[in-house]
Structures are given as C-alpha cells and as structure tokens.
C-alpha cells in the first residue's frame, strides 16, 4: 500500500513535471494537444534516427529519447505506473543493457547503410508504406471523438487498480511471466557462459611454446614504438615507417578498430626533413634525394655527416621546439 501511495505521489509529481493538466480527464485540453504535437514530432524523429543513424550508439540514444517521450505520453494518458516503469525499467535498464552490449561489440563499429540483399530495400519500403497506409487508413474510419476517461478506474490509485487486476483477473498470466523472467535470466546465463575446457596455460608455458615454434621470441612489441601516438588502437611503426599489426590488441584487430596512422607519420617525417632542410638554408631542396647522382665528384658521405652533425650542431633549439608544436 505504501509503495502504491509513494508511486502515486511520484506519478502526481511527474504529471506536474510533464505539464499535462487533467490527464485523466475525459476531455483533452489544448495543453495536451500541444504536448502531443510537439513531443510526437520529436518521438517520430527519434524513431527515424534509430533507424537511419549509422553509428549504433546514436541510434540507441535516439531510441532512448523516443522511449522517454512515450513515457510522458503514458503519464498523459493516466498510466502513471507504466510511465514510471517505462522510464525506470525501459529507458533505465533495458537501454543501458543495449549500450553495454554495444560497447562489448564495439562502439565505433558502424555498419554502412548500403544494401547487400537485392531488392530488400524496395521490398522493405513497399511493405512499410503499405502497412502504414493500411493501419492509418484503418484507423481513419474509426469514429472516436472522446476518451471515456479513467477516473473511476484510477479512483483509488492507478497502481492499486493495476494490482487488483493483476492479482485477480490476470494472476495466472502474472505467474507465468514470473516463470518467463526466471527462465530468461537462466537462458541468458547459459548462452553467454563459456566453459573453459582446458587449464589456462601459464606465462612460462606460453613462452616455451613461442620458443618451440620459434616465432616472436621477444615479447610482442608495444604500441607506440617510434610513435607520436600511444593509444592502444594505433599500431607502432617499424623502422621503415610501416605499421605493425602485432602491436595492437587482437580484439581491436578483430573488430577492425585499428587506426592506421603510418601514412601521416611518414609524411610528417618527410615534412620534418623538409623543414630542417629549410632551416639549414640548403639551396636545392630535395638535394638529399638527388644526392648520389647530382655530384659524382663530390665528397662521399658528406651529406650524412652534415645532416647529423651539422643538424645537431647549429640547430636553433626553440625554433625547432615551436616547429614541433
């Protein structure tokens, strides 16, 4: 009973918050109409977003929005309990569950909206439109002018009314849903649980295996070797500037979430060369490249010496510093 009253109180407050006046009245106020049109539009937009946004996270968020709006509509229609449940359970729990799974599967994984099955999209559009038209057309010839209202139904509280029905008329269904929920929980566990069949191999054993197979005797390279980045999803560069997939966590690799920056790394290197060249006031740019054939008679090995030593010698430190910024 107390739970009911609190729920009622909560409901009442939410009603104020939703700004829906006389929600349970048989007639609908202009306020409700306004609310309907505004929020309805938003809900539809959210739904469309769910369908058409490419990143699944965005879809999830827009769906959550739609759900909240629906919750508001529930409240406006005098289903206080359901409204709250909608927010708490649905938007709160279920959507979060969705988000968890999203994270598990890969947040950034975005599936292209490009259709692969031939004719699927057209069929979908056709069916969708046809269905919608039919439903709306069907509703079109419904002649309902007014609500009959929920005053007497909600006379001693919406929760009380629901409870009376649930525990009298729908008690068996209720019990069944209980069984269903338990089953679902068990099912989820069974499905996701992975039985480890063999003992987890220790580090030593793995090392031995590596030695036996004679590959990667040293531990795998860490990401960010020679790197300007040190994010886990960016492979370290090998001396020749090419990225090494090995440096990235296999999970990320399998998700295809490896960000390859080798290209920009290389060109930033080239840019560096360039700038150092300019800094040293070298006449012919790109000379180091043309070096070997430009001056056959020139002192060999001069360039490297100059590059290294000279660079180190008379390089302007702060200039170089602000260059690197």
């Amino acid at each position: 009973m107390s739970a009911a009253t609190t729920a009622d109180a909560a409901a009442a407050s939410t009603v104020e918050l939703a700004g829906s006046l006389a929600a349970s009245a048989s007639t609908t106020s202009t306020g409700e109409a306004l609310q309907f049109w505004v929020l309805g539009t938003v809900a539809v937009l959210g739904a469309l977003g769910t369908v058409f946004l490419r990143k699944s996270v965005h879809s999830a968020l827009s769906l959550a929005g739609t759900m909240i709006i629906l919750a508001v509509f529930y409240l406006a229609n005098g289903a206080y309990f359901l409204g709250i449940v909608q927010i708490v359970v649905y938007t709160g729990a279920v959507m979060m569950l969705f988000l968890f799974v999203l994270m598990l599967v890969g947040v950034t994984a975005e599936d292209s909206l490009k259709e692969t099955i031939k004719g699927q999209r057209w069929m979908a559009a056709l069916c969708g439109l046809g269905f919608g038209v039919l439903l709306i057309g069907g509703l079109g010839n419904a002649s309902i002018k007014t609500f009959s209202g929920l005053e007497e139904a909600n006379a001693d509280g919406n929760v009380f009314g629901l409870a009376r029905l649930i525990f009298t008329k729908y008690v068996f269904a209720f019990e069944l849903t209980g069984a269903l929920l338990v089953t679902a929980a068990v099912a989820a566990m069974v499905l996701t649980h992975r039985e480890r069949v063999e003992r987890r191999s220790t580090q030593r054993e793995m090392a031995e295996v590596r030695v036996r197979e004679n590959k990667h005797l040293p531990p795998l390279p860490a990401p960010g070797v020679y790197a300007r980045h040190n994010a886990v999803d960016i492979p370290g560069l090998l001396p020749d500037g090419t990225p090494s997939e090995l440096t990235v966590n296999p999970t990320l690799r399998s998700r295809g979430q490896v960000r390859d920056v080798s290209a920009e790394a290389l060109e930033s290197l080239a840019a560096l060369e360039q700038r150092t060249g300019e800094a040293l006031g070298r006449e012919e740019p790109g000379e180091p490249e043309a070096g070997p054939d430009s001056n056959p008679g020139g002192d060999p090995g001069g360039d490297p010496g100059r590059n290294s030593g000279g660079n180190a010698g008379n390089a302007d430190p702060d200039r170089a510093k602000e260059k690197t910024k």
Partner: protein, 99 residues
C-alpha cells in the same frame, strides 16, 4: 484533440520500427527497432485503456513490457554469443539457412 491521434502515432512508430528491422543489418539495431515496435504497441494499448476507461489495456502493456524485458535479455545474450563466434553483429552473416 482527437484521441485517435495517439493511435496514429503508434501506427507510425510501429511502421518505422518494422522498416528498421527490415533495413538495418546490425543485430543490435534490429533489436532496438523491435523494441520500438513493442513500445508503439504499448502506446496504443495505453490509449485504448484510456478510451475504454478500464485498466486492462494498461495490464496488457505491462505484460508486454515484462515479456520485452525477458526477450531483451535472451536476445542480447544470443547476440553476444553470435558475435563471439563470428566476430560480427551483422544478421546477414548468419545466413547458413540458405538452400
């Protein structure tokens, strides 16, 4: 305002959700679209309950939610295992039923 508007809205959302199920390949999004459809029907139920002035509609919606919750749990579990086994959440990749 005409109470039927709620039903119109429900129908619209339902249709959108359905098309989403048909269009999207990502299992999770498909699943969300299913949820959207369920919610649309809930809206309709709630509106009905107000139209008829008794709470049975809300009871139906209530049960729908419960069942939806159960369904979500199981469904997501399935998706996870699916992903584990084939490193992808695309429903098209699980097309072993052909021919």
């Amino acid at each position: 305002m005409n109470p039927v508007n709620y039903l119109y809205l429900a129908a619209l959302l339902f249709t959108i959700g359905a098309s989403g199920v048909l269009i999207r390949r990502n299992a999770i999004i498909v699943f969300m679209c299913v949820e959207l459809m369920l919610n649309a029907s809930n809206l309709a139920l709630v509106a009905f309950s107000r139209l008829h002035g008794n709470l049975d509609g809300q009871i139906m919606a209530f049960f729908t939610m419960v069942v939806a919750a159960a369904e979500v749990v199981v469904g997501l579990a399935i998706i996870v295992t699916l992903f584990r086994s084939r490193h992808s959440a695309s429903v098209d990749d699980a097309s072993l039923m052909k021919l």
